[in-house]
Amino acid sequence: MEVGQMQRRLVDYTKSLFMEGFLDSQFLQLQQLQDENNPDFVVEVVSLFFEDSEKLLNELTRALDQTNVEFKKVDAHVHQLKGSSSSIGAQRVKNACIAFRNFCEEQNTEACMRCLQQVKQEYYLVKNKLETMFRLEQQIVAAGGSIPIIEMSS
């Protein structure tokens, strides 16, 4: 596959992520912070997001598994996850966290567990999508091409 084709494939793929709500404009903000002097900024920050999130998801699983659930603690973790997913532009994860927090307030363990499943699902989905996107970028760079900038008129 030649570079032009790869670039078009990346653009189409990235656009689909926005269309399907996996990513929002905040992700574009991050891309704007990347330049020749910091060519790996987005990958680095997304990797931190993955690291943080997986830690939080484990904490949440543990916290909801307790006989006496400490909802304040659960809420604090969800708040953190909501924050970082919002900063990354992981829209669906963020929205799942918002719903989650409502049930924390209600102290509804069953509903919280369902929310956690939802958050996990959305997280692994977006993780998969982002990793695919980075792979496509790497292929372009390896073939000597440059990564096209997406213009979104959202």
């Binding site: 905040q26 903000q29 997001f49 943080d52 708040h79 953190q80 924050g83 970082s84 919002s86 900063s87």
Partner: protein
């Protein structure tokens, strides 16, 4: 911007989240600021040369090496930007400590938070914060820091040769600060 040699402004960023630290650091660096990032309010105070228990220091001078203290005095911070929600010392606690310190109270402080709580925002602004940014912080937010920094620097060149520590004659600048705050108030 004048004939004075341009030292970049030095911003101290405080956030307990590694992810947020990376983001704010990049936002600040891309805006040409010199950046120091710490992960807690107490580390921020340490960096600024303000120790929590001032009385303790007087009682046990040996516990603080004088060289360390002098070194900290030489580190100039032009603005502090801090997260609100942090374990232990919150961003608000940090704001209060800075504003209560003779040597640090003129450093502009900006608070960041992912939660839009008007009472929280107002309390921070009333207690001396220059601005309040909602997370995720944008490049456009960071651009708003310039006037706060420039105000600080023009004050510096006005009182040329005096370091901020131990100076009592900041009254006129205080009025300027209050005037600025009121101006912002009406803009809102």
């Amino acid at each position: 911007m004048g004939t004075v040699a341009e030292t970049p402004f030095h911003v101290l960023a405080v956030d307990d989240s590694q992810f947020d630290r990376k983001l704010i650091e990049r936002l600040l660096k891309i805006s040409s600021y010199q950046v120091t990032v710490v992960d807690s309010g107490s580390k921020a105070l340490e960096f600024l040369g303000l120790y929590e228990e001032d009385e303790q220091r007087n009682l046990n001078p040996a516990s603080v090496s004088p060289d360390e203290h002098i070194h900290r005095q030489d580190v100039e911070v032009n603005l502090i930007i801090t997260d609100y929600c942090m374990p232990g010392m919150t961003g608000y606690d940090l704001l209060r400590k800075i504003k209560e310190s003779e040597s640090l109270k003129d450093i502009p402080v900006v608070i960041m938070s992912s939660e839009n709580v008007p009472s929280r925002i107002n309390r921070c602004l009333e207690d001396g914060a220059e601005d309040f940014f909602l997370k995720p912080v944008q490049l456009s937010d960071v651009k708003k820091l310039k006037p706060h920094l420039l105000k600080g620097r023009s004050k510096e060149t006005e009182f040329n040769g005096n370091k901020r520590k131990g100076i009592e004659n900041f009254d006129s600048s205080h009025d300027r600060t209050r005037y600025r705050y009121n101006a912002i108030d009406t803009d809102l």
